[in-house]
């Protein structure tokens, strides 16, 4: 709960996460993540991605989704995780943020889970600042934990160091 100030300006996300709803689940480096299903536009298989030189390292590039240009975000990099090993192709979860489309590149996309508010926990203080920064809380599932990704903060590449200061 230590990062309340950091999230305070975006209260909606945490409340929404805490309220419990339907989440699209995905895995990155064996960790389960969830995004509110209503923010997800599309789930895509591996795509041809155009690199954007000089872009922040978290930006993997741009791709074409039915005539719209989608900016691909490498979630692993965003979370400070190492590059994925092996050649298995990743998946893209396309989200709409302020009218722009972004593809979150993840290892795998799971199912849609309906989660109840009882299982919700705020971010534990021990969570890595990088993660805490983009997490809107945690759900206790049977056998594993689901981290709710807060898309707005995930896409705000400038705040990625902000949590450390908090």
């Amino acid at each position: 709960m230590s990062n309340l100030p950091a999230i305070a300006n975006k209260p909606g996300a945490v409340e929404a996460a805490a309220a419990g709803s339907d989440f699209v689940t995905m895995t990155v480096a064996d960790q389960l993540f969830g995004i509110p299903v209503l923010t997800v536009q599309d789930v895509l298989g591996p795509q041809r991605i155009t690199r954007v030189p000089l872009a922040p390292p978290e930006v993997a590039g741009a791709l074409n989704l039915r005539g719209r240009i989608v900016t691909a975000i490498d979630v692993r990099r965003r979370l400070g995780l190492p590059k994925r090993e092996g050649t298995a192709a990743g998946m893209n979860v396309v989200v709409d943020f302020k009218g722009e489309l972004y593809a979150l590149m993840v290892d795998n996309v799971g199912e849609v889970l309906s989660l109840s508010a009882d299982a919700y926990e705020r971010n534990p203080a021990t969570l890595d600042p990088r993660w805490r920064d983009v997490s809107a809380g945690i759900y206790r599932l049977k056998g594993k934990l689901l981290v709710v990704l807060e898309v707005a903060r995930l896409l705000d590449l400038k705040v990625k160091r902000g949590a450390e200061a908090a």
Partner: protein
């Protein structure tokens, strides 16, 4: 009916409709400043348009109304019922005039002195006594003041009827919220059948009453609907939307075609072809709805110029060419203001008053010339005047004052460079600001607006000759043509508008990428072109897959700054729809957008401005008039920084030569130097290259390494043997002219040392006797040189000018006396231009020109006079005997400028 008039009627009727509503609102909220301003603006627009169309009666009424509104806007008067009624009355008067205008295409006879008088009286405060002021509530006001406006001489009171209408509208609007409905009945009703001329006010007053009981006259209705039928006003957003959809369709079509290409014998082939055609036609059609002749943007200019000429006491002719050139309305809208500003500037700052013009030997009437034409998918608009040119000294002074540049920087700048300051933000040479120009919109805004739409603006001027702005803008913003290039495996699009040409670098030819301290350069037609490696700029990975020597170089222009972008491959051009990049990528200045190509892949669109800026080209260097290729020549040495190669040959004193004259630097084993016919030669690239020495006494080494400066032209090379290459420096070259040794142009201080600047022409002549003699072979291989005859008795000046002219692209023949020149001319030699000294032994330049002018062949040939005597009497005489221009002898820059003006486009460009 005239298109202009038709548009005016449609627009004005619309505006009037809105005015009615707004006025009523105003009456209810007399203190709403936004409302007052908006009403004022509308009235102002009507007045302005009437004035332009030459409708004095309408203009006067609108003017009086505007006056009153102005007072209200300035809070000198309260927008009470009387005021609003008066304004409404003037609006009705305008409407009635308009209806006549619509039917007869002419203003009705008569005048509106009474109404104007009342409007003016009220505006002057005389009307304040009217009883209306008592009651602010409209309905009550109406009821209690039936006789409130003084009846005019026709003895009728027009106001109440309108008031009822207006108030009824207001009430309707209040109650039903149906604001739009309110104005409609009024304009229709106000368009009655032919109005009997003198008592116009009467008929203007009646229709609204009629409107309540009977339908308006049928004739008026048909007239109005006829206009409505031939043109409809469509919200721009609708068109924009349509355009976006079509753009998407075009992209999808491109994608489909791409797929089709890979699938032979597809059953989709035929329908796709059809789709292709329909899409193209649709695109064209939609584009057409947005296309308007540029004349529309110019239509206000004749009036503007007319007014300016009165206001400024100047005689101005406005010449417009290419009004019919069409361009996208969005673009048109965006350039309207910059254009007006530039024209105003030309008339105000550019042109001199008549007496000054007379003194300068120009016709009293100055010219402002507008020219628009298509050129390779762009529109070029030139705005020229034949005035005094820019006041460079003032600009420089101002630049220092504003802290844009330091004194030292200024001192090092050429006039053309300094002129670029006028585009700097907040840069106004305040002393020159008149009521006409300098009213808020600065040249920086002009430039920003033009660049915003992907255009460029270039400034050229000549002291005493005039100023020219050249605007280059894309035809449309929605779909642009882009060059697709590849670098390190990534593809990028470069907007075609900024691409000047493509050059393929070869390791073994003239076009070699050379480096100075790792910065790459390319020699391009006697110019050193700075190169930017796309690979490095975009940091496309560690290893470069391609050798620099095999690069393609995209020669790109940003403002006046020309540079080359090195890429690995060049594909073709493609029509692309520019889409903005995602917000998280917006701070990368290298990209102006992105798009989807026909094959479905996303591609980034490069922004040449960003690349130029990141490559170290600061605003100052970008403004360097590099477009002016001669800038690097000795000819432009005064004030211009030129790259010089400093070397030593024959003695310790350093010598220098402009780097741009050198083709290559070579070093060879001295033993390889051979002799042919007693002269040193070197086998070089499969040919024999003559070698020359700095002076005859120079001893050629027989062993060791021998550095050679290679000069090249017309597939021939010449090597100059030197002891040592010292450095390449960029210096402001100011040559002391007194050094007249053969082979030397003069001495200059370079890097703090006295340095001899060598005269390349001397050595070229030494190597090839016919180097300059062949008039049949064009200089510079690619371009057609203009043939120039140089007549001067002083060998020093001939030798000085010859290489300068040569380098500027002229095929120079020299004559040391006028008599010899005449013989040359009479012998059948052709010359495009003749440059002659005035003071010569034997036949003087005056006599020479006079004689030439009498011959059939040289009657029209431009002849330039060169003289150290620039007494006005001499200049006068020169003009009388037929000289085209008169140039002070040491003004090499002036000579070149004058020549290039005569030639329009000099051959070397």
């Amino acid at each position: 009916m005239d298109d202009l008039l038709r548009d005016f009627l449609t627009e004005t009727n619309e505006n009037l409709g809105m005015l009615d509503t707004e006025l009523v609102k105003l009456e209810q909220n007399p203190n709403d400043p936004g409302l007052v301003s908006s009403i004022f603006r509308m009235m102002h627009t009507i007045k302005g348009t009437c004035g332009f169309l030459g409708l004095p009666r309408l203009e006067k009424v609108a003017h009086a109304g505007e006056n009153l509104l102005d007072k209200i806007r300035d809070k000198e008067l309260v927008a009470d019922t009387t005021a609003v009624s008066l304004i409404l009355e003037s609006i009705d008067r305008i409407k009635s005039l308009l209806s006549v205008l619509e039917q007869t295409e002419a203003e009705p006879e008569g005048d509106d002195a009474d109404l104007i008088q009342r409007l003016n009286d009220f505006a002057a405060g005389k009307g304040a006594a009217a009883p209306a002021a008592a009651t602010p509530v409209p309905l009550q006001a109406l009821a209690s003041t039936p006789a409130e406006p003084e009846p005019d001489e026709h003895g009728f009171v027009p106001v109440p009827a309108h008031k009822t209408a207006a108030v009824a509208d207001a009430i309707a609007a209040e109650k039903g919220g149906a604001t739009q409905a309110a104005p409609v009945p009024v304009p229709v009703a106000a368009a009655p059948a032919p109005v009997p001329a003198p008592p116009v006010p009467a008929s203007a007053a009646k229709p609204p009453v009629a409107a309540a009981s009977a339908p308006p006259p049928a004739k008026a209705e048909t007239a109005e609907s006829a206009i409505a039928a031939s043109s409809i006003r469509v919200n721009v957003d609708v068109l924009e939307n349509l355009m976006t959809m079509v753009s998407e369709l075009v992209l999808t079509r491109n994608q489909l075609l791409q797929i089709l290409r890979s699938q032979k014998d597809s059953e989709f082939a035929a329908p796709l072809q059809r789709l292709n055609h329909v899409t193209s036609e649709l695109q064209e059609g939609v584009m057409k709805t947005r296309m308007q002749p540029i004349g529309n943007a110019w239509s206000k200019l004749p009036r503007l110029i007319r007014d300016l000429s009165h206001e400024l006491g100047k005689k101005i002719d406005l010449l417009m060419h290419g009004q019919e050139t069409e361009l996208d309305r969005q673009v048109l809208e965006l350039i309207k203001d910059p254009l007006t500003h530039l024209v105003r500037n030309c008339a105000d700052h550019g042109l001199e008053p008549p007496d000054e013009r007379r003194a300068a030997g120009k016709p009293e009437t100055g010219k402002v010339i507008l020219n628009a034409f298509h050129e390779g998918g762009h529109i070029i608009i030139e705005i020229k005047d034949d005035g005094r040119g820019l006041n460079i000294d003032r600009i420089k002074q101002k630049a220092v004052q504003n802290g844009v540049a330091t004194e030292a920087e200024i001192a090092a700048m050429s006039d053309q460079q300094a002129a670029q300051f006028i585009f700097a933000a907040g840069f106004s040479t305040a002393a020159q600001v008149t009521s006409v120009s300098g009213r808020g919109v600065g040249m920086d805004v002009v430039r920003t607006n033009i660049e915003k739409i992907g255009g460029t603006v270039e400034l050229k001027f000549q002291r005493g000759k005039g100023t020219a702005f050249v605007i280059k803008i894309p035809l449309t913003l929605a779909i642009v043509s882009a060059l697709i290039v590849e670098c390190s495996g990534e593809r990028f699009a470069i907007p075609q508008i900024s691409v000047l040409e493509l050059v393929r670098a070869h390791g073994n030819s003239e076009t070699t990428v050379e480096r100075v301290n790792d910065a790459p350069f390319l020699r391009l037609r006697n110019r050193l072109l700075p190169l930017v490696s796309l690979h490095d700029t975009l940091r496309l990975g560690e290893t470069r897959t391609m050798d620099d020597d095999k690069s393609f170089i995209v020669v790109t222009q940003v403002g006046n700054y020309t540079f080359g972008i090195m890429v690995d491959r060049v594909f073709d051009t493609e029509e692309i729809v520019v889409k903005p990049v995602a917000p998280i990528l917006r701070d990368i200045p290298m990209f102006s957008g992105n798009t989807i190509l026909g094959d479905g892949s996303v591609i980034m669109i490069l922004d040449p401005n960003g690349i130029a800026a990141s490559s170290g080209a600061s605003a100052a260097t970008m403004s360097e008039a590099q477009a002016d290729h001669a800038a690097t020549e000795v000819a432009r040495s005064e004030g211009e920084r030129v790259a010089l190669l400093v070397f030593r040959a024959g003695g310790q004193a350093p010598k220098a030569v402009p780097l741009s004259l050198i083709a290559r630097l070579e070093e060879t084993d001295a033993a390889q130097i051979e002799y042919s016919d007693g002269k040193p030669v070197l086998q070089y690239r499969g040919k024999l290259m003559p070698l020359v020495t700095i002076d005859p006494s120079y001893g050629i080494r027989s062993e060791g390494r021998q550095p050679i400066l290679v000069f090249a032209d017309r597939n021939r090379n010449m090597g100059l043997l030197v002891d040592e290459i010292v450095d390449i420096v960029e210096e402001r070259l100011s040559i002391e002219m007194n050094n007249a040794r053969p082979g030397m142009v003069g001495s200059a201080i370079i890097s703090g040392k006295a340095t001899d600047v060598i005269d390349t022409a001397h050595y070229l002549a030494q190597a090839f006797g016919d180097w300059f003699g062949k008039s049949d072979q064009p200089f510079g291989a690619q371009s057609q040189a203009r043939r120039l005859l140089l007549v001067d008795d002083s060998p020093f000046f001939r030798n000085l000018l010859q290489p300068i002219l040569q380098v500027a692209g002229y095929d120079v023949t020299t004559a040391d006396t006028a008599a010899q020149a005449l013989t040359l001319c009479e012998s059948g030699r052709e010359f495009d231009v003749i440059v002659s000294d005035i003071e010569m032994p034997g036949m003087s330049g005056f006599d020479f020109a006079e004689t030439l002018r009498r011959t059939e062949k040289f009657r029209e040939t431009p002849i330039l006079a060169l003289s150290s005597h620039t007494h006005p009497a001499d200049i006068d005489r020169a003009r009388r005997v037929g000289f085209t221009d008169f140039i002070p002898k040491l003004d090499r820059e002036g000579l070149l400028a004058s020549l290039s003006e005569l030639g329009g486009r000099s051959a070397a460009e």
